[in-house]
């Protein structure tokens, strides 16, 4: 039971990091990013492939070569670098265009990446997925043991706390001030001498780093990843978290992430299964999220913890 609760907190905290990343992009800067799952995927696969032990196997006549046996800290850093670089590449053509183009391109890229993960079997083992992903200090503690769970929880919470502090400091910094101004009116901001494109690019990359590292942690948490875990549904669940919690407010992002992902993952765990209708109970989870979204938007349209203007003390 302890292990079960630790597991839930860990995975919810991982999703909270993703929500913080989306808050940087959308909440601060107004970048319409529908490719959250793609950045999460690239981070997860980068870490998984790098930290797995080198191995070759044959499955249905295809040779798989997975794993480089690199240590987990480097694996996480690599997830950040690769995901940030992906953001940079997507940003070059799209960040100069109107917001909705970014939305289309990001959702497209996320899906392309998922299909790459399905089809490039030599690298990703396709729909079989990558199994037996190592966890930190696995040589001391077995993957399924309680200490191993605790170590991953502490690591995740530490990264979440660090990323929260960074995001919060950005919000009040002159850098963040430009982002919030751009979100309100990009044209005015550029006429006040700010190079809008580079501010957007930095924010987009930073959001990618958040999502990439979260992906890396996710790979270590589940110890097995497959393309189905990165369907666009997750992008919109993360969006729902941010909207429910309060876009532009980091505490709101955390609250929304905890509430909604907790609900989504666990709401139906204790319901009995219905004979002959195996899809019924899992589908209820989407209904629960939908109802919560509608109720919150109806009663608190700017989220549970709305963004407040900064009052400056003299």
């Amino acid at each position: 039971m302890t292990s079960f609760i630790i597991g839930i907190i860990t995975v919810v905290a991982i999703y909270c990091i993703v929500v913080l990343g989306l808050n940087l992009r959308w909440g601060y800067c107004g970048l319409l990013d529908f490719g959250v799952a793609g950045f999460f995927l690239i981070g997860a696969y980068t870490t998984a492939i790098l930290i797995s032990a080198p191995s070759e196997s044959f499955l249905f006549g295809v040779k798989y070569t997975v794993g480089y046996g690199i240590g987990w800290p480097l694996g996480l850093i690599a997830a950040a670098v690769v995901s940030g670089f992906l953001a940079f590449l997507i940003g070059i053509p799209t960040l100069r265009l109107r917001g909705d183009y970014l939305a289309i391109v990001t959702i497209g890229v996320a899906e392309i990446l998922r299909y790459v993960a399905i089809n490039e079997k030599w690298l990703t083992r396709g729909v079989q997925g990558i199994r037996n992903i190592k966890r930190p200090f696995e040589s001391f503690f077995a993957a399924a043991s309680l200490p191993s769970d605790i170590i991953l929880l502490v690591l995740t919470l530490a990264i979440l706390a660090l990323f929260f502090i960074i995001a919060d400091r950005i919000y009040v910094s002159p850098f963040g001030r430009v982002l919030r101004a751009m979100r309100e009116d990009e044209v005015v901001t550029s006429f006040l001498g700010k190079s809008v494109f580079s501010f957007k690019m930095l924010t987009f990359i930073l959001g990618g780093i958040y999502m990439g590292i979260a992906g890396g942690l996710f790979a270590m948490y589940t110890t097995a990843i497959e393309p189905y875990q990165f369907i666009p549904t997750y992008t919109f669940l993360i969006w729902a978290c941010l909207i429910v919690g309060g876009s532009g407010n980091n505490w709101g992002a955390i609250l929304g992430g905890a509430l909604l992902m907790g609900l989504f993952i666990q709401a139906t765990r204790f319901l009995p299964s219905v004979a002959g209708q195996p899809q019924l109970i899992p589908a209820m989870r989407y209904i629960a999220v939908g109802i919560l979204l509608i109720v919150v938007l109806r009663l608190r349209p700017r989220g549970l913890l709305p963004e407040k203007a900064i009052k400056i003390k003299e």
Partner: protein, 252 residues
């Protein structure tokens, strides 16, 4: 100081500005008038980098600035305001002004996160300057409020304050008194005069209120259908037959 030569700007088949040349001398207040749709705002947009001209060039202090981006032109020392004020809603008045200062160290992402000593120092200085600007514009009491509560005239004032915070050499104001009351209009006019005298700022102003233009400007440029009709003093413009025709139509 500012020279636009032979500016042409087309939108599809429509020629909004046709071979228009204007010059603004240092320290002067120049008015740009013309009937609705004459191309005044389009000319502003070409000068400030929102649009690239299809022909002609803009020079500022002898340097060719045509084709630069709006932020680059602002960095050169030209700041503009908008016909319909476009303020930043969720931010307070102080933040609106503080945003506009140039060369902010804390706009670098790393130093912004670390909030280093020199960032804090600069923020304190900028806060002081921002409060002075708000005082001068009689907006000090509202400094910690959101911009949404401001009246039309106050918004124009705040926008001017933002523009001043960029420490410009030249200001382009697009209808600075639109939506203002008579008192606010008077304040704006006085303020523009004071800025010219105290800071030797140069102004190019688009305005529909003739009493503002006539009372304020050293030189008035009249454009109609994208072409320059004439330029001269207030009296010369008032007496010009073509100008009257452009505004009121020809006698039958």
């Amino acid at each position: 100081m500012l020279k636009a030569e032979g500016i042409v700007k087309d939108f599809g088949g429509l020629r909004a500005v046709n071979n228009c040349s204007i010059e603004v001398e240092k320290g002067s207040i120049v008015g740009l008038i013309g009937p609705n749709g004459a191309g005044k705002t389009t000319l502003f947009n070409v000068i400030t980098g929102m649009y690239k001209p299809d022909a002609g060039k803009v020079t500022f202090k002898g340097e060719n600035i045509s084709g630069l981006r709006p932020d680059q032109i602002c960095q050169k020392g030209i700041t503009r305001t908008f016909q319909v004020s476009r303020e930043l809603k969720i931010m307070t008045l102080i933040e609106n002004v503080m945003l506009a200062f140039k060369d902010q160290i804390g706009e670098g992402i790393i130093r912004g996160i670390l909030n280093t000593a020199n960032v804090k120092q600069q923020e304190r200085e900028n806060l002081k300057k921002a409060l002075e600007i708000l005082k001068a514009l009689k907006l000090y009491d509202l400094r910690n409020e959101s911009v949404v509560i401001l009246s039309g005239g106050q918004r124009k004032m705040l926008e001017l304050g933002q523009a001043l915070a960029t420490e410009p050499k030249m200001l382009l104001l697009d209808e600075p008194t639109a939506g203002s009351t008579v008192t606010e209009t008077g304040m704006m006019v006085n303020f523009i005069r004071r800025m010219r005298e105290e800071q030797e700022l140069t102004f190019l102003i688009v305005e529909h209120k003739m009493e503002v233009i006539m009372g304020l400007c050293d030189k008035i440029i009249v454009i109609s259908y994208g072409e320059k009709l004439m330029e001269g003093s207030a009296d010369e413009v008032r007496q010009n037959e073509q100008v009257r025709e452009a505004y009121l139509g020809r006698e039958a």
